[in-house]
């Protein structure tokens, strides 16, 4: 009579972990974590001649940066960069109260101009401050702080 007890046939898989480890280490080393973050902007469509449009002067908030990274706001030198945020917010949310500032937030335009020699760092700094004002305003409309405003694209 045949014995019912049979030896179980197995493939030795003890080296499987080693192979997997090797592959794992390879991918760990080759992976570079990409930083896909920054300040977003949408460029205007291309046209050969410069675009002109008529806006009332009160609705434009002009910010210039010169080649030595100094700021000029509304054609006057501007000292105290930290005050820019509050000033821009005042301009946007003026709603026609002050005759020098905007009619309403929809018509308000913040214009940022820079020199060819302006350093990129300064541009980002100013751009960051200006975008911060808008995010704060958008956030306030729906009752959240600028920090909680959804920043994913």
């Amino acid at each position: 009579m045949r014995s019912t007890k049979r030896k179980k046939v197995e493939i030795n898989s003890s080296s499987m972990a080693d192979i997997a480890f090797l592959l794992l280490i390879f991918f760990l080393v080759t992976t570079t974590i990409q930083t896909n973050k920054g300040l977003s902007a949408t460029l205007p469509p291309h046209s050969d001649e410069p675009q002109t449009a008529k806006f009332h002067d009160r609705n434009i908030y002009k910010v210039h940066i010169n080649s030595s990274d100094r700021i000029m706001v509304e054609d006057a030198p501007f000292e105290g960069f930290e005050k820019l945020h509050a000033e821009v917010k005042l301009f946007i949310l003026n709603n026609g109260e002050n005759p020098d500032l905007s009619d309403n937030p929809k018509d308000a335009i913040v214009s940022l101009q820079m020199n060819r020699g302006t350093h990129y760092k300064r541009f980002i700094e100013v751009m960051d401050a200006l975008q911060g004002v808008y995010y704060e305003i958008y956030g306030e409309r729906i009752g959240i702080t600028a920090a909680n405003f959804d920043r994913s694209i």
């Binding site: 898989s13 499987m16 972990a17 997997a20 480890f21 592959l23 794992l24 991918f27 760990l28 080759t30 992976t31 570079t32 990409q34 930083t35 896909n36 973050k37 920054g38 300040l39 977003s40 902007a41 949408t42 460029l43 205007p44 469509p45 291309h46 080649s67 820079m114 020199n115 060819r116 020699g117 302006t118 350093h119 990129y120 760092k121 541009f123 980002i124 700094e125 751009m127 960051d128 975008q131 911060g132 995010y135 600028a146 920043r151 994913s152 694209i153």
Partner: protein, 156 residues
């Protein structure tokens, strides 16, 4: 009733390692999926600026990177800021063909949604960056990201 086993039973204490390959494979698959194979920027060095109003791009497939910085090999490429795309140093006039090529790689339905990630060194003058953005307008790649890192709160 015998509850405790006798002390002289010679059971070998082993930790079962049967699940180990599975765990390692899981990690392996994670890294395989997240790895994006692309040419790294070999020729330029740049330190990107910091900002607070950072946006994170979720759709990684739409991103095309253009970097602007000072060449690493100064004696070969000079000290002027240069533009690098896809691992090669390029000129201003090469940007439009490069963007067109990148657009062709995307599926037709989101060809116009290409996002250009501009990574530039802090000390680069705006002139070269404006030149690049003008070319991007010509190539109709108008969604751009000025690459920046999070500014930590204590630097405020």
């Amino acid at each position: 009733m015998k509850i405790f086993k006798s002390k002289n039973s010679n059971h070998e204490a082993t930790i079962s390692t049967a699940a180990l390959p599975d765990i390692i494979f899981m990690l392996l698959f994670f890294f395989m999926v997240t790895t994006v194979l692309r040419k790294s920027d070999e020729n330029l060095k740049y330190k990107i600026p910091t900002a607070e109003q950072i946006k994170q791009i979720e759709k990684k497939s739409l991103i095309t990177q253009i970097s602007i910085g000072i060449p690493k090999e100064v004696e070969k490429f000079g000290t002027e800021p240069r533009i690098e795309a896809d691992g090669k140093l390029i000129e201003i006039k090469d940007i439009v063909p490069f963007i067109m090529m990148e657009k062709d790689k995307l599926p037709t339905y989101n060809r116009d949604q290409i996002i250009v990630l501009l990574k530039a060194d802090e000390e680069v003058p705006m002139g070269i960056i404006t030149d690049v953005t003008q070319e991007l307008r010509k190539a109709n790649a108008r969604r751009i990201i000025y690459g920046a890192n999070w500014k930590s709160d204590e630097n405020r």
